[in-house]
């Protein structure tokens, strides 16, 4: 028996999120099905990040145990032959038997992309949120800076979450304009349910000039979901980096 870790990239557009569900297409469901066929065993992976419907990833993580004699680092090639084109395994390797991505410390980076132009760009419609309202990325960056550090992010957590603590640490957050696109990149030790999308929705409000960047301090202090901005749409979000520390 050995434990294998997969690095999974996907276009989430056609899926009801990462986590397996009955009667809905999911990334995990596709990976389980193709792995089970490939290895001739009933395989069920344990995922790292449970991304929502429509959210994308360059490098989500999944682990599973197997009796196969296929070397760990070869599994990705065989698995990619079976997976649909919108899911690709970028790496597979053996890890120690106790390794579980949800039980060890990690740093994840998410990117939220916005097309901010007079009209949407058709080729970006599934990979960025569109708004024609001019956004001031400098105000967004100023507001974002208040989020860095260890905070209780309860204001940035959707109802329905069952976590014990809403304290998380954001190591870094960058807001950059690249032509007609704005990218928000946020790195942290963990994220609450919808946290990055609520951060994006809140920074978009700051970018529209609805409030002064310093108001972010009050939003954090409120510890109330109603204090923050709306949850920005899923399509703009992508998990871009996942490191274990």
């Amino acid at each position: 028996m050995k434990r294998i870790m997969l690095t999974v990239a996907y276009d989430g557009s056609a899926y009801s999120g990462f986590q397996e569900q009955d009667n809905a297409p999911t990334i995990e469901g596709e990976v389980n099905r193709c792995l089970s066929e490939l290895l001739g065993e009933e395989v069920r992976v344990a995922g790292g990040s449970r991304t929502d419907a429509g959210v994308h990833a360059l490098c989500n993580v999944a682990v599973f145990d197997t009796e196969t004699r296929i070397p760990g680092e070869k599994i990705c090639y065989a698995l990619n032959q079976r997976l649909p084109e919108d899911i690709r395994i970028r790496e597979s390797r053996e890890v120690h038997a106790g390794f579980h991505p949800r039980h060890c410390e990690s740093r994840k980076t998410y990117e939220y992309r916005i097309v901010n132009d007079r009209f949407p760009i058709p080729t970006k419609r599934l990979y960025a949120y569109f708004t024609y309202v001019p956004l001031d990325e400098k105000r967004m960056a100023e507001a974002a800076a208040y989020l860095i550090g260890e905070h209780d992010f309860k204001s940035f957590c959707s109802a329905g979450s069952q976590v014990l603590s809403t304290v998380r640490t954001i190591y870094d957050i960058q807001v950059e304009r690249e032509g007609e696109e704005i990218a928000i990149r946020v790195t942290g030790n963990g994220f609450l349910y919808n946290m990055v999308r609520i951060i994006a929705g809140t920074l978009i409000e700051a970018g529209k000039g609805l409030w002064e960047p310093g108001h972010m301090e009050e939003i954090i202090a409120a510890r109330d979901r109603g204090a923050a901005g709306p949850t920005a749409p899923a399509c703009g979000l992508m998990l871009v980096k996942y490191e274990f520390v």
Copy 2:
């Protein structure tokens, strides 16, 4: 009667190219259908660039004549309400009655994108050609430089083209690596059938080291399609700029 020019952006993935065809979805067909519904007249646009199936555009051009009293610059808003999400009109404006995009001098810029990494990136699969073979973008740029200027580009024209002359001018061609992606940007006064895709396929051969960059001179001089590389896949290609001079 007035003549209106549209600037059309599209994701070509779902279409059999720009030009209207019976029994196949096309960009032009969708624009004609939605314009005719909107204006209550039978409208048929004349397009600028006849992009192939799967090719994308930020700014293709189409003109049509209409009796409508809707101001030219307002048509884009009403038309976007009817068009599918993968087609967007970025601008509409009145032009003089004799203006036709195919009968006046223009400069077009196409971009060809390549993902050059160990594995494909799922969110880029419809917008870039993928190859895991390492490409040397400096060799590609060196080979590309021979294409600049006025040349007979017969080696870069697919069979079946009925043009009178295969002489064209390339004003500029750039090859740049941005992380795991390579972008080829080529600006010219006109392009032969499949010309940019054959240029891309030929530069990919140079990037793989199959021949020395100086061999590009012989490929041009051959005036023979067999001398150049393969036609690179359509999905990597996008019309990014279209200017009238």
